[in-house]
Symmetry: C2
Subunit: 193 residues, 2 copies
DNA sequence: CAGTAATTTCTAGCGTCGCTAGGATTGCTA
DNA sequence: TAGCAATCCTAGCGACGCTAGAAATTACTG
């Protein structure tokens, strides 16, 4: 009985270690370096063990992405209570992407298996989106909050991805972010209090 | 003599066919389906021939991306003369991405070998960016046109990529685009003094 | 026209990838 | 302690990007 429990606990622990190893490796050398063989070596098991936990490499990346969603939601949720929520959320967003580039890619670029704007979307992801929605709500004007939040989020995502791909002129990240926040309504001194 | 010229012309033609085959295959089945073996079969030559034209698969994708830049620049340049250049450029941009999804990915997501915001950036790419800059110039206000253009471009890019990855609620593409254009154009009063 | 040199192209293969089948090993039950 | 499950590993499959060296083709010479 208790042995059965111990086995299940050990299995769960090993599953955690797989995802952690994938994240470490991805953050250190990029997702291309995350191979099933290297993952297996890192957790000190053989390759097929991975497939007793996940359906494949894609599922491991998706699991890492879900973890990332939760962490991103945490940061955004905290920022949403800032006096200037739009600017705070924007900064928290790019800071997260900057600190966890591989994880960010796993969430938004790779991990096509991950359901997003559907009923089966991970709760963590909905929380992250809710934080953005809360931040844009005060400046919604006549626009729907949900659609506006998606638009603002997409703009942030574009800045992050193009910047990382060296598609934008270096050294102007803060300026671009300030422009975006200003155009969407916050940051300009005015509606406060 | 002329034979030498003919050989060079044939070689150039074959190179064009390689890139065309890559684009066709990518647009039909995605870039993952573009393998060197399938490319070789499509142009009816053996695999190593590809490497006498390009340094590798990445270079072939980069060549396709440069072609795509030129076509994108053409569409954006035409839209920049519209009475409402901001909206016209935005629509032309998403229309291009919608009509050539694989090519769009080659330009902006893959093709990391492609130099962008540097001196060696392809002229076609600079033209495309110039069209965006021209479109945002009238609504620049106190912002620098170049930085503003990058920000607007990034926002468009974010909408395109998140939408394609099913990260956004379906059926609201036009609304999101309208919001973006409004916030960047009408939302801010005229040129600052 | 024949023979050789140079170029082009192909066959075959290397190492690695994600993934899986089937046998060996372990631990539990009786 | 014998039998049975669950667990795990060795070995291998097909496909990938890419490359070395042989074969075939072309071009140039005597």
């Amino acid at each position: 009985m208790t042995q059965q429990l111990r086995r299940e606990r050990d299995r769960a622990e090993r599953e955690r270690r797989i995802v952690a190893a994938a994240r470490e490796l991805a953050e250190a050398e990029g997702w291309d370096a995350v191979t099933t063989r290297r993952l297996a070596a890192k957790i000190e098991y053989s390759q097929p063990v991975l497939y007793s936990h996940f359906s494949g490499k894609g599922a491991i990346m998706a699991a890492a992405a879900v973890e990332g969603c939760a962490e991103l939601a945490e940061r955004l949720g905290a920022a949403a209570f800032d006096p200037s929520p739009l600017a705070a959320v924007a900064e928290a967003y790019v800071a997260f992407a900057d600190a966890n580039p591989a994880l960010y890619d796993a969430i938004f670029t790779l991990a096509t298996e991950l359901p997003f704007a559907t009923a089966e979307a991970p709760p963590a992801l909905k929380n992250a989106f809710g934080a953005i929605a809360a931040a844009v709500a005060p400046v919604a004007g006549g626009d729907g909050v949900g659609i506006l939040a998606e638009t603002f989020w997409a703009a942030l995502h574009g800045l992050v991805t193009l910047d990382r791909g060296r598609r934008l002129s270096p050294g102007y990240r803060a300026e671009r972010l300030a422009i975006l926040v200003a155009r969407f309504g916050d940051g300009v001194p005015g509606p406060a209090d």
